[in-house]
């Protein structure tokens, strides 16, 4: 947001800002297009072929339905469990310091363990099917949210706590109108980290799991030396990740708009 004007008064400024944002991607894309044109390299096919194959495989060939949608569902299901569990247990542990202190060895270890190392264990328990994929995504992406929720709940203004105490506000209302909003910025910070983790875990479990999913697609294409399809998978994953990130940001802005407004206000009331 560069403009000082409202209602689109600062049109030239907007256009200029957009141009500054857009020139490098466009130049890079053109550079890659022309540099790779007529490429004979096995590993780096020309962009033209990759684009054509992307259209063929993912859009015309229905790859979106067979590979991208299952990935998305898996990601959302696992992530939803992680968010709910993280917020629930994080709030409880944030409210009861003794519990947080007691559980710290477990939470610290769970956060520190490189999630990928748990994959073989999960495969021994659940095989290579959906249960393995979902449990890995949910388990590994719970911890950043959990830890941030604990921090957020603990840092709730003591005055607010006393006020809620004094007015005998019901526990559910305390959670809903007191702790949850106060901790929300921290929770979201954790949720954002968790989300990136969840996407990474999704890709790796799909690479080891049963067919269906973009991770499997990329790995399978590589193992059968179909380099162009492999590149299309990477391109699709790039757009997929970017779109999800954008969505996340929009959601965060909507839910936390009061927080941003408050920060802006305390920093001098701009915007």
């Amino acid at each position: 947001m560069s403009g000082k004007g409202r209602n689109g008064v600062d049109v030239p400024g907007r256009i200029l800002g957009f141009l500054w944002n857009a020139w490098l991607p466009v130049v890079l894309l053109c550079a890659i297009w022309f540099a790779s044109a007529g490429s004979q390299s096995f590993f780096f096919p020309s962009l033209e072929r990759v684009v054509a194959a992307t259209w063929q495989i993912w859009f015309a060939g229905g790859g979106i339905v067979t590979d991208l949608v299952p990935s998305l569902m898996r990601l959302l299901a696992g992530y939803a469990v992680a968010v709910l569990a993280g917020i629930l247990f994080g709030t409880i542990m944030g409210l009861v310091p003794v519990m947080e202190v007691a559980a710290r060895p477990v939470t610290e270890a769970a956060r520190a363990v490189p999630g990928a190392a748990l994959l073989p264990i999960s495969m021994m328990f659940f095989g290579t099917g959906e249960a393995m994929k979902l449990s890995m995504i949910a388990f590994i992406s719970t911890w950043p949210i959990l830890l941030n929720t604990i921090e957020g709940v603990r840092s709730v203004d003591p005055t607010l706590r006393s006020v809620m105490e004094t007015y005998h506000i019901r526990p559910w209302h305390r959670f809903r109108y007191g702790f949850l909003p106060a901790a929300a910025p921290q929770v979201f910070a954790g949720a954002r980290i968790s989300f990136a983790v969840a996407v990474a875990v999704m890709v790796i479990v799909e690479m080891f799991g049963t067919p269906g999913g973009i991770g499997f697609f990329i790995r399978h294409a590589q193992q059968t030396f179909q380099v162009v399809p492999m590149w299309t998978g990477l391109v699709m994953l790039g757009f997929f990740g970017y779109a999800l990130n954008l969505l996340f940001r929009v959601l965060e802005k909507r839910i936390l708009h009061w927080h941003y407004a408050m920060v802006a206000h305390s920093q001098g009331g701009q915007q």
């Binding site: 710290r104 060895p105 520190a112 490189p114 990928a116 190392a117 073989p120 994953l237 990740g241 970017y242």
Partner: protein, 275 residues
């Protein structure tokens, strides 16, 4: 660290603090004990037996045996080396680039989209490509790891560049600090407060991705490879011993970071009042 920030009146007495610390330690020891007990009981259940999960006794015994083999230490060493190399590359590349981009509004506007796009690609997805290019080698692991770890550093360095406080530099100029002192007392501490969270994220992400890349790419002789091998060869004891190792590695790295943070950033508001 000595507790210097206690205020008069509400401050708990020294012995009270000590007692609380002992109580916490006792609680945590109990938790660890409970965890191992729960693991043991769980490993006896039908569900765990079907998955051939060993109890903590078997896993720890196997770990003890492994501690005396060269393969174990070689695997651990290779993994730590890949991880450290990738982090070093990211620090050397990411921080200066980030600071430069952050200093210029135009550079920030121009690179924003490219950085945003590239960092959302899960780096483990690149493993198939790097496998084709570099084979099942340590180089492959380092490349993938760099692609994961550079973004948090770059982005936090951009913030550091953007939020440089002009007042501090004016103060430094009024005191006629030499450039060495200016770096030592103004630029580095100021930038560090921003870059540090990025570094912490990069360190943990790098560890996850290193082991993930080793696993997917089955890079020979690494921790990830040993994990996969133990699973494929159906040696559950060995598998759990290596998972415990990975966990210990993560804990050690985190512990070291926390210690360094206390030494480096003790002056920062977020660190004050912590013991």
């Amino acid at each position: 660290m000595a507790n210097e920030t206690t205020t008069a009146g509400s401050a708990p007495s020294d012995s009270g603090l000590k007692r609380a610390a002992y109580r916490n330690l006792l609680l945590q020891a109990t938790t660890v004990g409970l965890f191992f007990a729960a693991w043991h009981l769980f490993s006896l259940s039908g569900f765990a037996v079907r998955a051939e999960m060993p109890g903590p006794g078997g896993s720890l015994a196997r770990l003890w045996e492994l501690l005396f083999t060269g393969d174990y230490w070689r695997a651990l060493g290779t993994t730590v080396r890949s991880w450290a190399t990738a982090l070093a590359i990211c620090v050397v590349v990411g921080i200066p680039c980030g600071l430069l981009i952050g200093r210029s509004r135009r550079a920030f506007d121009s690179t924003k989209f490219v950085i945003d796009f590239l960092r959302t690609i899960p780096s483990l997805a690149i493993v198939p490509l790097t496998l084709l290019l570099f084979g099942q080698t340590v180089t492959m692991v380092v490349v993938v790891c760099c692609l994961a770890a550079v973004w948090p550093l770059l982005i936090q360095s951009i913030y550091a560049g953007q939020h440089a406080d002009p007042d501090l530099h004016r103060v430094a100029r009024s005191f006629r600090l030499g450039w060495m002192d200016r770096i030592r007392y103004v630029l580095v501490p100021e930038a560090l407060a921003f870059i540090w969270p990025g570094l912490r994220l990069a360190v943990t992400a790098a560890l996850l991705v290193t082991i993930g890349a080793e696993l997917v790419g089955s890079a020979r002789g690494t921790l990830g490879y040993r994990l996969l091998e133990a699973q494929v060869l159906n040696q559950p004891d060995t598998l759990y011993a290596y998972v415990l190792t990975a966990c210990a590695l993560g804990l050690a790295v985190n512990g070291a970071l926390t210690l360094i943070q206390r030494r480096l950033l003790w002056w920062h508001p977020s660190m004050r009042g912590r013991s």
